[in-house]
Symmetry: C2
Subunit: 343 residues, 2 copies
């Protein structure tokens, strides 16, 4: 028996399958990728040999020969932020059994890091690219435009997509929450924000728009930091906010982690919620509706965003480009006890 080739470690190759099945290698290749282009007979024959030999195609050889890797590059700003963790879960679940692989990158909320990772990912000739947000650096934007593959910007929508987009308007989200607080009768409504990435900024803009229109705006009501968000930070920011404006009667928290921290601080300081202070969060995590009192929040559809981003990519790859390249998945205000002021 001929010794196995030097490097393959004894793994059967497509040539082994072809020989044993008495066909050409290319026919095996086709039987695996486009079965409908191979006759019924050969297809069965080949399938049998593949099973017998335990043949598994080498994705690297495939990528080299076809100049296209079955890989979707995905760039997110954080892996631990529950919001993006759910996006990523949606992305993975959207793969089903599609032979596509995910190449995940963590940009740590840095545009430059995003740009760097984009270059790394691009070197593999990915089948598609998924990036978070719409604030790419000019260089990154150029890379995306010239990527030669479908691109989806997720989590936000905006006027100028590179290719496709799926998300929602954070500005409108900010407006919706703030309007709710105003309608609930709150007047000294503070804004508490951490990290202050572009999406947080736009939520703040929505807050500001509503407050100004209602004649309630006061810059001292805004308490933000670039520190990453956390529950404990929520506590501190509430204390800061109260120090500046002791008459504060509500807070719109940039996200639910902060909101939870604010709630705990209120418990600790024996501040009545929602009587003395109303609390609203953003994203509506699992815990938010369970808290006591339950927290008002804005439900966003991040799992769905991940899933549908992959659907759009797969459709595009299959040649069925979605008629709607920009999808607004919206959000849903969840009014709960934390802003239910008794009149």
């Amino acid at each position: 028996m001929k010794p196995r080739s030097r490097r393959s470690g004894g793994r059967p190759t497509i040539a082994d399958v072809a020989k044993r099945a008495g066909v050409g290698a290319i026919t095996v290749s086709r039987a695996l990728r486009e079965p409908e282009r191979v006759s019924e007979d050969l297809r069965r024959q080949i399938a049998r040999v593949v099973d017998e030999l335990g043949y598994v195609p080498d994705p690297n050889a495939r990528a080299l020969a076809s100049a296209r890797a079955d890989v979707i590059g995905v760039l997110v700003p954080s892996l631990t932020n529950n919001v993006f963790a759910e996006v990523v879960r949606g992305i993975y679940d959207g793969l089903d059994d599609s032979r596509l692989q995910i190449q995940l990158g963590n940009t740590h909320y840095s545009g430059l890091e995003e740009e760097r990772l984009l270059r790394v990912f691009l070197s593999q000739r990915p089948s598609a690219l998924v990036v978070s947000g719409i604030d790419q650096t000019p260089a990154a934007r150029k890379l995306l435009e010239e990527a030669g593959c479908p691109v989806v910007q997720i989590m936000e929508i905006g006027p100028d997509p590179v290719d496709m987009m799926i998300g929602f308007s954070h500005f409108e989200g900010g407006r919706t929450v703030t309007r709710h607080l105003v309608d609930a009768g709150y007047r000294k409504i503070g804004f508490i924000g951490a990290r202050m990435d572009p999406r947080s900024q736009r939520r703040l803009s929505g807050y500001r728009a509503v407050m100004e229109r209602a004649g309630l705006f006061d810059p001292r009501l805004i308490t933000t930091t670039t520190t990453p968000s956390s529950v404990s930070l929520g506590r501190e920011l509430l204390r800061d906010a109260l120090a500046k404006v002791p008459t504060l009667d509500a807070v719109f928290c940039n996200n639910d982690d902060l909101a939870l921290g604010v709630l705990f601080e209120c418990h600790r300081a024996a501040i009545d919620v929602p009587g003395k202070i109303g609390i609203a969060g953003f994203n509506d995590l699992d815990m938010t509706g369970v808290a006591f009192p339950s927290l008002t929040s804005l439900r966003t559809h991040r799992y769905e965003i991940g899933r549908r981003a992959i659907s759009m990519v797969r459709a595009t790859i299959a040649g069925e480009r979605p008629e709607q390249p920009v999808v607004d998945l919206g959000f849903e205000l969840k009014q709960r006890e934390s802003t239910a002021r008794t009149a």
Copy 2:
């Protein structure tokens, strides 16, 4: 000018660099991978041309030629569980600038899915494999043993490593928390558990061991479900537990999500914590120490586990195999208000 080759899309290849630099292709290859083996002069010369041309090596061609991809396959049971999200973050952070890439797989807590993904990953000849836990299926275990690359089992330690291991003993963790509750004077100590994956089971075993030894064990004190863990589930499980044992005076929660749900339910039902019921969690998430009252929990070092798993892999690849193939990172009991009974 000669037309660009058919498929490469105009990207410069190693041959282009070699020609322009007036050297052989292999010298360029070496200059990039093992600079110390190329003379100072050529190295600089080549670096300049690489910059000029914007040459980026093709990882697929590299993997095909070397029969080894610069990829570490990582299998975790969940992407959204904060504990694993932090492990994954540690893994990514452990990469630094090492040219290694992560191939991430979500097993959804299924041994069969783990086995399937292992086969997929193996087809790429990864440089290393990282898997969660020590309960692989026999077939998966065999695949790992014959993988021909470093393997790290993370999150747990046990007697029979495939190769390397880093984590801690969940049994000991369960014992430590339970012993603390006993020492704090609680007697009717319930166990609340969700998902009940192997690690949860071992925590339960630790609980049981201590309770039996203290003569306090009663099967009715155990309330578990295979439903995935969540804050809301914590509420329900506490209600179930109290329905079974109204005299319950403490609960050891399988994880902090459940503990938070239990805390909220106590607030809602006006049950004094820690006076009437003591609460202890597991993992010590950020929120746990901030809650009101702050929750006792067991701090586990999952970020560190991820980071050091990659360190071990990198050391092994570099030929410096860690002298200690099994690393117990332990844990740390965080006693807080929720179990601080006033005597």
